[in-house]
């Protein structure tokens, strides 16, 4: 089977299992909405403040929500030794990384599509005008979160502090994504052009490329014994 076909098969498996149970998506969505509401109570942003607070709220929420999805996606493999079975197949273990990464990315994007409009409605921030740049920032940032998150989720599922270790690993290392993502969104909501956020986009793209490559290459060492 070709590499693309293999990744497709792996992705299909994750999506089918998730579709039947919908545990990951439900958890991520409910959690995200809860956090968003809590933020709104905590800061009670006025219409003037809201554009300033929204990006930070959004990215913090996404960072936490992503850890939910990332860890669940590997618990699925850990529980019945499925990860060992995956390592026995006649393909490169890096393809496992690719398959998981795509699945986690889809879950995260699904949550974002629902969360962003909801947050904006609650906070009273008009988004449609800047939908293009916002979408680009979200997609680039999500790829980055998932690229490193998938590596660390595979690691932490094997430890006895797995729920704690993943966020502790992810947040410092995903800092460039969070920092640039927030900064870029702030500029966009303040009416900046594409040119103003170009440095941030470059950082996000660099992050994505570096860690997709590193993740792909290094994943077999995470799985190996």
């Amino acid at each position: 089977m070709s590499a693309v076909g293999t990744v497709g098969q792996l992705l299909w498996k994750d999506l089918v299992v998730e579709w039947r149970g919908r545990e990951i998506l439900t958890a991520m969505l409910v959690f995200s909405m809860l956090v968003a509401v809590v933020f709104n109570f905590a800061f009670s942003p006025s219409p003037a403040d809201a554009p300033r607070l929204l990006p930070g709220m959004l990215w913090v929420t996404l960072a936490f929500a992503s850890t939910l999805g990332l860890s669940r996606s590997f618990v699925l493999e850990h529980d019945h030794g499925a990860i060992e079975a995956l390592r026995l197949f006649p393909f490169d273990p890096s393809l496992i990384y690719a398959g998981k990464l795509l699945a986690n990315l889809l879950y995260l994007l699904a949550v974002e599509i629902l969360l962003l409009p909801a947050l904006a409605a609650i906070a009273g921030v008009p988004l449609l005008a800047s939908a293009g740049p916002l979408a680009v920032i979200l997609v680039l940032g999500s790829i980055g979160l998932v690229a490193v998150g998938t590596i660390f989720s595979a690691m932490s599922v094997n430890t006895r502090i797995r729920e704690v270790l993943l966020p502790v690993l992810l947040f410092p290392l995903a800092a460039p994504v969070l920092i640039s993502g927030v900064r870029a969104m702030l500029s966009v909501l303040a009416g900046a052009s594409w040119g103003a956020i170009l440095p941030g986009l470059r950082i996000l793209i660099a992050f994505d490329v570096v860690f997709l490559v590193v993740g792909y290459v290094i994943f077999e060492f995470v799985l190996e014994e």
Partner: protein, 234 residues
């Protein structure tokens, strides 16, 4: 050509040496049983042969080639572990199809249907594995290990916790494939091991303490040898 050639295999996990120089060889079509106390390194040895564990030293060759040299060589290995390797959220048929496709089996649907029949799970194939009893799940795992028709089958204490039906299916399959498939089996039950295999080895503290090729019919003799190797007063 020998199916399995292990030479001076060592594996250290940090400072602990699980395998300390294991050498053994298995001819194609032979069935080898490995006995040994807990912690002897049986699982480590099996997993190293299966390419799941990277050896610290020594070598493993399957059909003359180092299986770690090319990822595609894994297609010749089938493994039955005490873990089921199944996804509870997929149906029985889907679990087998998933494995079949990833092993590149031609006409996967046909093969899966035939395997399901062999292990007696055709009726439950469209049900989620989550709904299976333990015995059914075990039968499915056994079917899964054979989906790509591997010339080499490795079984790590496969009878542990098996119900009678599943044990019967397993014994039937192993007996049927004797001579055509190379089998390596680890087990705690000396009686069962001897019934299924042509040769035996006893692994103690990461080393082969005893090996024998023929004349394994005398259960008591083997039990005595085992007791000696392991250090339990007979």
């Amino acid at each position: 050509m020998r199916a399995i050639e292990v030479e001076g295999l060592t594996k250290a996990f940090g400072p602990i040496h699980a395998l300390r120089g294991v050498t053994l060889a298995v001819d194609a079509g032979d069935a080898l049983v490995i006995f040994g106390p807990n912690g002897a390194g049986k699982t480590t040895l099996l997993k190293t042969i299966a390419t799941l564990i990277r050896p610290t030293g020594g070598s493993v060759r399957l059909f003359g080639i180092d299986p770690r040299a090319d990822v595609r060589l894994r297609a010749q290995i089938g493994v039955v572990s005490h873990q089921s390797y199944l996804y509870p959220g997929l149906t029985g048929a889907e679990n087998l199809l998933f494995a079949a496709r990833l092993y590149g089996v031609s006409r996967p649907a046909e093969r899966v249907a035939r395997l399901l029949e062999t292990v007696g799970l055709t009726a439950r194939a469209p049900d989620l594995v989550r709904t299976y009893s333990r015995g059914m799940a075990q039968r499915l795992s056994i079917a899964r290990s054979l989906v790509h028709d591997p010339p080499l089958l490795l079984l790590d204490e496969p009878y542990t916790g098996l119900d009678r039906q599943a044990a019967g299916v397993l014994t039937g399959l192993l007996t049927a494939m004797r001579g055509t498939r190379t089998i390596v089996l680890t087990t705690h039950s000396i009686e069962q091991g001897l019934a299924l295999c042509d040769r035996m080895a006893i692994l103690v503290d990461g080393l082969i303490a005893y090996e024998a090729e023929d004349g394994l019919r005398d259960l008591h003799a083997v039990e005595r040898i085992y007791a000696e190797c392991v250090g339990v007063p007979a």
